[in-house]
């Protein structure tokens, strides 16, 4: 069959100021994934490439540009699933790595487990050759601003049904 790929860059109350960046980054990601498919790559390779593209882009809430927790830290999660074998790999509560999706892929391929979190996920990633980066290098100005807005509101955004805040949803 003809290969096909689709991507998303997040849902929510995306302000007008973020629309162009979102569209540019989303198109770049789908092209990155499609290029893999055109070269005969697998669906797993293609979805990883597409997500890696967006994890590098501050316009998205993943990797660099991730929103911040109450301690002002980036704490990320990712998952990947292979529909051929119903096999999965996932990580959660992971810090200091630019590409959580690639670590999740390694959990899928190189671990007897499906989901690793926190310190264990970090240890696994280091064992598999992933390198940490300074935590502040994952933090964008937009993420800092979003946390300040959240702290001012004092409650979680609930998308347009509740308060309007771009940091409100994934």
């Amino acid at each position: 069959m003809k290969p096909i790929i689709i991507v998303h860059g997040g849902a929510g109350d995306i302000p007008d100021s973020r629309v162009t960046g979102k569209l540019t980054g989303t198109k770049a990601a789908v092209i990155a994934g499609h290029d893999v498919l055109l070269k005969g790559g697998s669906a797993l390779d293609a979805v990883e490439a597409a997500v890696v593209s967006m994890e590098k882009d501050e316009n998205f809430n993943a990797g660099y540009g991730s929103v911040l927790n109450l301690d002002g830290e980036v704490e990320m999660e990712a998952s990947i699933m292979d529909g051929a074998r119903l096999d999965v790999g996932a990580v959660t509560l992971i810090k200091d790595f630019l590409h959580p999706i690639s670590i999740a892929r390694k959990v899928l391929s190189d671990s007897p487990h499906s989901l690793l979190g926190g310190e264990g996920a970090k240890r696994f990633a280091l064992q598999k050759g992933f390198e940490t980066i300074p935590p502040e290098s994952l933090i964008s100005q937009n993420a800092k601003d979003a946390l300040q807005k959240f702290l001012k509101h004092g409650e979680f955004g609930r998308t347009e049904i509740g308060i309007k805040d771009e940091g409100g949803v994934g």
């Binding site: 069959m1 990797g63 999706i101």
Partner: protein
């Protein structure tokens, strides 16, 4: 949150989803993204789905898996995506979005939030958007 769904030349379906979560979340909070069936699901025999939006609602509704099961019952990809997202929003009063590819490459895109950026490539042409309709 970001996500991707692909069907390759051999008909294999794969899905990837990655996120920083929600702004101001508690330290240690885990959302829908790493929970299979909520943020991500893929089955070569049916479809693949990646979701985004209000994580606590998505994981309670098992949104990705609910879309896949609707497709398995004979609903087309776009209708299944819309029906599940709206079902979650109605039941839990929070919004979400999802992208879907059936095993045959049929596309589903729907979101109950104000906006969701998405893009796909078919026959060398890029289709993309961020607004409703």
């Amino acid at each position: 949150t970001v996500g991707a769904v692909a069907v390759d030349a051999n008909g294999h379906v794969a899905v990837a989803t990655s996120t920083g979560g929600m702004s101001g979340k508690a330290v240690g909070r885990i959302g829908d993204t790493p929970q299979i069936g909520s943020g991500t699901y893929a089955d070569d025999n049916i479809a693949g789905v990646s979701t985004t939006g209000h994580g606590e609602s998505i994981l309670k509704y098992c949104l990705a898996h609910s879309i896949v099961k609707l497709i398995e019952s004979g609903v087309d990809a776009n209708t299944a995506t819309k029906k599940s997202v709206l079902g979650m929003t109605k039941r839990l009063n929070n919004t979400a979005g999802a992208i879907t590819l059936s095993k045959n490459g049929d596309v589903g895109v729907y979101f109950s939030s104000n906006r969701m950026s998405w893009a796909y490539v078919r026959d060398g042409k890029i289709y993309y958007g961020i607004e409703h309709d």
